[in-house]
């Protein structure tokens, strides 16, 4: 043994090593103290910035379904589509790449080439690319070509009911129609994921502070619309407008005993999948609810109903009609050929469509002349009974309220109110017209219109829409019966005239009633255009009680004759036949 080793005290050696160890440990402790305590916030932030990821979990937009032969079928769905983009920095051969991409996506290679040569790192080559096209492009393994998934609305029924549905813009916001009116219900609420992740972004389950808030998807909407009826309405409307040489129009079919909309259409229309290609923005509007018009003589059943309901006239009342009324500086005359001076009955006012008769009815509300009393009484019926001048509350974007002149403020109020008796100087949408007539012929109940029959939440809970009564006693029941009877007689008497250009068969086993309207188009600069008329028709079809109410509008038809009788009424005839033949209208038993 080496003597020098002998001299080393083992205890000292241990103590030395122990001291050394303590020293080393102290360095660690000091360093750890510095890192973990003093620089805690700094390092925590640095670590979390790499590891903590926050994601917004998008909520799925609610789908829309509608009835078809007794089952609910999809009308609006969501579909994953792709945006194809180029990062020009990584494209090796622009000419070859553009050719290959255009082979799959279509379009000219030159156009794609220009996009690929842009001085940017993100150049969009195509949007709404299908999964199949994306897979084909992926298969080519082209450098510098990338994909971004986007969820888009898709419309399996094409452009059917497009204005009623609306569309969803690139920001995911509903525009027009149901998409706009119920945007919040359809959108749902996005969820949130906050989690510690690995380098690849996979959330690590061990972290107790991970937060997951699941998204709340939008509700599914089931419409009151019947797709078959909607399709036929659109076809018949289009044919009718073409036959009348009219460029635009619309129609709505209503259940008068609930306010449920069974079909609603406008022409021209558009494909909501390609909304960005539309140049005339007016086609986005559902004119049935958003475009008020002067409804013309279709107002007359309402004027008569108001007079009967007030008791100022009765069913058997007759009066001498001078065929012209002078009110202030203006004259009210008839436009119909058979509207000369004569003793007239209440029924004649509808059957002959007498403007002077409607004016006389308003006069009776004031005790024989149009005065403040008459104006206030008639205004009360227009606004409080028929709900004109108010939005109906239907689930549609951009609904218009229409306008009713004040009975006490303004100039020329008497002539203004004389005009309202036959539907001029007052504006209403075809929907408002249809609802007002529904309330008058159904016994006197005004229902709020609705398009959504059922809301289904993501958890499966259903919320059914129940009919909402806006007003009872719109008119008395006996008045309702009278107006219904008079409208049936008006329709029957004029059937041949309505049918002169077509070959619809009469359907005597059903109760069909209606009234035409022809109104001059108001000039925004004041007065009326002398050569532009709009045709309207409002009517019903049913057995012992009306099953469907139809309101039609034809804008500026270019055929001879009155727009209401020659352009709108033929569409009504076809629609009633369609409803009788395909939608179980019950024949009358009494």
């Amino acid at each position: 043994m080496n003597p020098s080793e002998k001299e080393i005290n083992p205890k000292l050696r241990i103590q030395t090593w122990f001291a050394f160890l303590v020293f080393i440990m102290s360095i660690f402790v000091v360093r750890l103290f510095y890192v973990q305590i003093i620089k805690h916030d700094y390092y925590q932030k640095a670590a979390l910035s790499d590891q903590l990821k926050q994601y917004e979990l998008p909520a799925e937009r609610g789908t829309i379904v509608a009835h078809s032969s007794g089952v609910l079928v999809p009308l609006v769905l969501n579909e994953s589509l792709f945006t194809v983009y180029a990062d020009p920095k990584f494209i090796v051969d622009v000419a070859q790449t553009s050719t290959k991409v255009s082979d799959i996506l279509g379009g000219k290679p030159e156009d794609l080439r220009k996009l690929m040569e842009k001085d940017t790192r993100y150049s969009i080559l195509a949007k709404k690319v299908s999964k199949e096209q994306k897979q084909k492009l992926e298969g080519l393994k082209l450098k510098g070509i990338g994909f971004r998934e986007t969820v888009q609305r898709t419309y399996p029924q094409g452009q059917l009911a497009s204005q009623l549905l609306g569309f969803v813009n690139d920001e995911g916001i509903g525009k027009y129609g149901i998409e706009q009116a119920l945007n919040e219900t359809l959108t749902g609420k996005p969820g949130k994921l906050k989690a510690i992740t690995d380098a690849q972004g996979v959330p690590l389950a061990s972290n107790q502070d991970n937060i997951l808030v699941s998204p709340k998807n939008g509700s599914q909407l089931a419409l009151t619309i019947d797709l078959g009826m909607q399709q036929q309405l659109e076809d018949i409307l289009k044919q009718g407008l073409e036959a009348a040489s009219s460029k635009s129009g619309g129609a709505v079919i209503i259940d008068p005993y609930s306010g449920a909309i069974k079909a609603m259409a406008n022409y021209p229309t558009y494909n909501p999948s390609d909304f960005s290609k539309v140049t005339d923005l007016s086609v986005f509007s559902n004119a049935i609810v958003s475009s008020p018009m002067e409804i013309g003589s279709t107002m007359k059943p309402l004027t008569l109903a108001a007079a009967l309901d007030q008791g100022v006239v009765n069913k058997d009342t007759t009066y001498f009609d001078p065929s012209v009324w002078v009110i202030g500086d203006s004259k009210v005359v008839n436009v119909e050929e058979d509207g000369g001076a004569a003793t007239r009955s209440m029924k004649d006012i509808l059957q002959l469509s007498l403007n002077t008769g409607a004016t006389w009815l308003v006069m009776q509300m004031g005790g024989g002349e149009i005065n403040e009393k008459a104006r206030i009484a008639w205004h009360n019926y227009l606004v409080d009974h028929y709900q004109y001048g108010k939005e109906t509350g239907i689930e549609q974007g951009y609904e218009a309220a229409g306008s009713v002149p004040s009975p006490t403020d303004g100039y020329g109020l008497n002539i203004k109110y004389a005009n309202t008796g036959f539907g001029q100087g007052i504006t209403a949408t075809p929907l408002q017209l249809g609802l007002a007539i529904s309330s008058v012929i159904n016994g006197g109940v005004y229902y709020r219109p609705y398009l959504i029959e059922k809301y289904t939440e993501p958890n499966g809970l259903n919320k059914d829409t129940k009919p909402v009564v806006v007003r009872n006693n719109v008119v008395k029941k006996e008045v309702s019966d009278t107006i219904r009877e008079y409208m049936i007689e008006t329709y029957t008497k004029n059937f041949r005239a309505y049918n002169s250009q077509s070959s619809n068969v009469p359907r005597p086993e059903f109760n069909i009633g209606g009234k035409t309207g022809t109104a001059q188009e108001a000039n925004p600069d004041g007065g009326y255009y002398t050569n532009i008329f709009n045709g309207t028709y409002v009517g019903f079809v049913g057995g012992d009680r009306p099953q469907y109410v139809i309101s039609i509008r034809v804008n500026d038809p270019k055929i001879p004759g009155y727009a209401g009788a020659k352009a709108a009424a033929p569409i009504f005839l076809k629609l009633t036949n369609m409803l009788i033949d395909s939608y179980g209208v019950t024949p009358k038993m009494h």
Binding site: L77, E79, S80, Q157, G158, L160, V202, A205, S206, P508
Partner: protein, 115 residues
């Protein structure tokens, strides 16, 4: 060196010659401070190891969860695609323009038989 032997040696230092003394020697094995420290460190290491094992094991499930979620998303996407395809195939426009529909004969409205 244990705590008990240290005490014994110290006692011997104060004993005088021919003096009867009692030799205290503890029969129980009591761990000293270093042993305790080492034991605690080992225990802490074992606990740490156990913790790390469990964390790793839990994190391994993250990948399984992630894979399953991807599968779920893919299946949902396929389901959605099929739903869209099915709806398109059954669309009124497609049915109307089908060969079967083209060969159908339209009928004129007939009057309803009344009692």
């Amino acid at each position: 060196m244990t705590y008990s032997s240290t005490v014994s040696m110290n006692r011997k230092r104060f004993a005088r010659r021919n003096q009867n003394t009692t030799n205290f020697s503890s029969t129980s094995n009591v761990l000293g401070p270093v042993s305790n420290t080492i034991s605690l460190i080992i225990l802490a290491c074992l606990l740490g190891l156990l913790y790390l094992t469990q964390v790793t094991k839990t994190n391994a499930f993250s990948y399984k969860i992630n894979t399953l979620q991807k599968q779920q998303t893919e299946l949902k996407s396929q389901n959605s695609d099929l739903e869209v395809a099915s709806a398109r195939l059954q669309s009124l426009d497609r049915v109307k323009n089908s060969e079967v529909a083209k060969n159908l004969v339209s009928v004129a409205p007939v009057s309803t038989i009344q009692n």
